[in-house]
Amino acid sequence: MKKNVIGAGIAILIGVAVPLVFRSYWLHVAIIALYYALLASSWTMLAGFSGQFSFATMALGGIGAYTSALLVINVQLPMWLALICGALAATVVGLLIGVLVLRMRGPYLALFTIAFSELVRITLNAEYQLTRGDMGLTVPHLYTTVSKTPYYYTMLGLLVGSLLVMWTVLRSRYGLFFRAIREQEEAAAVMGVNVVRYKIMAFVISSFFAGLAGSFFAHYIGTLTPNSMMEIPRMGLLIAMSVIGGIESLAGAVAGAVLVEFLQEYLRALEMWRFVIFGLALVLILRFSQNGLIYPIYQRFAARRVEPRTVADAEA
C-alpha cells in the first residue's frame, strides 16, 4: 500500500521531468503515449476488473473527440467546457450501450461493441457536411502556443487525475463488486450484488475517461478523421497495449501503452512489420502469460516480500 504510493509518486516525478529531456517530436510521442495510457487504463478497468470485453473504447473516444470539436467549432463553446461535454457525451452513449446489452453475457457485448464502433465510424463518415468525414476535421487547439510542453502537462494531469479516480473506485466496495461480477456473475447476484447496476456503472465510468481522452486528443492533434481514430486495427493496438502491460492492473495498462507507443516510434524502420510484432506479442502473451508481460515481472519481485503462506502450509 505504502509502497504503491511511493512508486506512483516516483512515476509521476519521472513523468513531470520528461519535457526537460525530450525534444518537440519525442514530446509529441510522449503525449500520444499518455493519451493511449488513459484509454488503455479505462479499458483495463472495464475488461480487466469488471470482465466486460468491449471493443468500443476507441469509438467512445471518437465520440468525445467529435462532440468536443464540433461544439467548439459550431457553438463556440469555451474549450474546457467542450472538453467536459465531450467526455459526458461518451458517458451518455456508454450508458445507452450499457442499458442495451449489459444484460447479456459471453461474447454478445464484444459482438455488439464491434458493430457499434463501425456504426459510429460510418456515421461520422457519412455526415461529412458536419464532420468532414475522411477529409479530416480541423479542430482549434487547446493552447495558442506552438510548444508542446503545456499539452504534455495537461495530458499528464488528466491521466494522473483519472487514474486516481479509477483507483479510488476500484479500491472501494464498487471495485469489489466489479471483480465479483467478473468472477461469477450469478454468485454475485445471489450474494446481493445488483449486477446490472454495477456493470453499467463500470461501463459508464470507463466511457467517461475514454471520452475525456478523446476530447483532449482532438484539441491537441488538431485534425480528426473517423477512419484513423476508430478503425478496428486501432482498437487492436489498444488491446495489445493493455494486454502487454497486464490486463488486471492500471499501472500495467499505463506502462504497456507507454512501452508500445515508444517502441512503435523506434521501430519505424520496420514499417508495417512492427505491427506484426505487436500482434504476435499480443497472442503469445495471451496464450502463455495471461497477466501480461510487465505486471508479472513487477509482481514476481514484489511477491518476495509477502510472507510465505501457501495452501499446502496451511493444511499441514
Partner: protein
C-alpha cells in the same frame, strides 16, 4: 519498492533513448511526405518517393553540403500527415515536398504554417490547399477548379445531357463534385440542351456500388457519362461494376475514371476488358510534347522501376528540384529566405517552366503554379499504357 523503481526505470530508459537521438548539422535535410502504405494510395506514394530520390541524387549538393532526403509515410491519414510534418520539422528539414491526398495535405499545411516550414505540394488538387493563402505553402499540381471547369467544357462539347457521378467523400472528390455542380448542372450543352448532373457520395471503404449503379441504369434517358470520382480500390470497382451491369462503356454511356489510379497497371489487372473505351485524365501525355527533360526522366525512371512514370512522379521530381534551387538562390536554409526565393523562382522542369503566382484571385491561385496542364484521354485497347491512350481534350491538341 525497489522493484517498482527498477521497473519504471527500465521504461524511462527506453523512452529516453529516443529523446536523445541526435542529428548532424553539416548536411541539408529535404523532407518528403507521401502515402507509402494503406489506406493511402501506396502505388502513387512509392512512385513519388523514387522520383524524389532520383532528383536528390542528380542534385548532389546544396550550398556545398550533402543532401539528406527523409521521406515520411503519411498512410493517407491526416493525423499521420501532421505527425510526419512535425517529425521533419524536428529533424531540421529545410523544406518539404510531396503529398498525394488532399485531406492529408490540408492537415500538413497547418503544420507548415505553424512551424514555418516551406512545403511544396506535389500532387493534391483540392482548391482549399492554396486558398488558405499560407505563406509557406506552394503547389505544383493543378487546383481542382483549374482543371475540372475544363472537363465541364468537354462534357458540354460532346453534347452530354445526363451526367451521373459516384463521389468519394474527400476534399478532392467533393471539390470536383462542387465544380461540376456549378459548371455543369443546368448549363446548356453544345446543342443548347440543359445538362443534368446527379451525384452520390460514398465512403472509401464501400465495395458494392451495384444498387446505385442499377439506379443510374434505370434512369431515363440513359446517362451519357458516368463519372467515377474515386481513387484506389473504389475507382477500380466502380469501373468494373459499371461494366458488369452493362451500364458503360458502350454506345450510349461512357465511363470517366477521374482518379489517378486509372493510370497504373493495376487498373487493367482489376477492371479487365471493362476498361476499354474508359476515359481518364492525366497531367502528362506524350502528345503534349516530349521534351528532352521528359525523355531523360522517363528513361531513367523506367530503367529503375520497369514502369512508366505518371505525372505524380514528375511533380514530385520537379518539386525537389524547385526546392533545391530555391535554397541555392536563398543562400541559406532559413525558411523565410526560401519562401522569398520560391516566390521569385523560375525553373525549367519536366512538366514545364515552374513558377508560382502571387494572385489572390481566384483564391486558389496564390502560390499556385498556373501552368499545370491536364488532359482527358481514352483507352482504346485492353492493357494499354496510358501514354498510348488517345487524347480527347483539349481538342486543339488532337493530331
Amino acid at each position: 519498492m525497489k522493484t517498482f523503481l527498477t521497473f519504471m526505470g527500465v521504461i524511462g530508459l527506453v523512452v529516453c533513448i529516443g529523446g536523445s537521438l541526435g542529428w548532424s548539422q553539416d548536411q541539408v535535410i529535404l523532407g518528403g511526405v507521401a502515402p507509402l502504405s494503406a489506406p493511402g494510395a501506396a502505388e502513387s506514394g512509392a512512385e513519388m518517393k523514387i522520383a524524389m530520390e532520383m532528383a536528390v541524387s542528380e542534385i548532389g549538393q546544396i550550398l556545398g553540403k550533402p543532401i539528406k532526403l527523409q521521406v515520411e509515410d503519411t498512410r493517407g491519414l491526416p493525423e499521420e500527415g501532421t505527425a510526419a510534418m512535425n517529425r521533419l520539422a524536428d529533424a531540421g528539414a529545410a523544406g518539404v515536398v510531396g503529398e498525394f491526398h488532399s485531406a492529408v495535405a490540408n492537415a500538413e499545411i497547418e503544420v507548415a504554417n505553424q512551424r514555418k516550414l516551406p512545403l511544396i505540394i506535389a500532387e493534391a488538387w483540392a482548391d482549399v490547399i492554396t486558398a488558405k493563402h499560407y505563406p509557406y505553402v506552394f503547389r505544383i499540381a493543378p487546383a481542382n477548379s483549374l482543371f475540372y471547369t475544363k472537363v465541364s467544357d468537354w462534357v458540354k462539347a460532346i453534347g452530354a445531357q445526363n451526367v451521373v457521378a459516384i463521389v468519394e467523400n474527400t476534399d478532392w472528390g467533393l471539390g470536383i463534385d462542387t465544380v461540376f455542380k456549378e459548371t455543369l448542372h443546368d448549363q446548356k450543352n453544345i446543342d443548347g440542351d440543359p445538362v443534368q448532373y446527379t451525384s452520390i457520395v460514398a465512403e472509401r471503404t464501400v465495395t458494392d456500388f451495384t444498387p446505385q449503379l442499377l439506379r443510374y441504369k434505370s434512369m431515363s434517358p440513359r446517362p451519357d457519362l458516368v463519372m467515377d470520382i474515386f481513387t484506389g480500390t473504389g475507382e477500380y470497382l466502380i469501373v468494373k461494376q459499371t461494366g458488369e451491369l452493362g451500364l458503360a462503356p458502350n454506345r450510349e454511356t461512357l465511363v470517366f475514371a477521374v482518379g489517378t489510379s486509372a493510370l497504373y497497371p493495376e487498373y487493367w489487372e482489376t477492371v479487365g476488358k471493362y476498361g476499354v473505351f474508359s476515359i481518364t485524365k492525366t497531367g502528362y501525355h506524350p502528345l503534349l510534347g516530349v521534351t528532352p527533360a521528359i525523355k531523360k526522366f522517363n528513361a531513367e525512371f523506367e530503367a529503375k522501376t520497369g514502369k512508366t512514370p505518371t505525372f505524380a512522379a514528375m511533380e514530385a521530381y520537379d518539386s525537389i528540384h524547385v526546392l533545391a534551387q530555391a535554397i541555392e538562390q536563398a543562400g541559406s536554409t532559413a525558411s523565410d529566405a526560401i519562401v522569398a526565393a520560391l516566390e521569385k523562382i523560375k525553373y525549367d522542369g519536366v512538366l514545364g517552366t515552374i513558377y508560382f503566382s502571387a494572385d489572390k484571385k481566384p483564391d486558389y491561385m496564390y502560390h499556385q503554379w498556373p501552368g499545370a496542364k491536364a488532359v482527358i484521354i481514352q483507352y482504346t485497347a485492353e492493357g494499354q499504357k496510358y501514354t498510348d491512350a488517345e487524347l480527347l481534350w483539349p481538342a486543339a491538341l488532337m493530331p
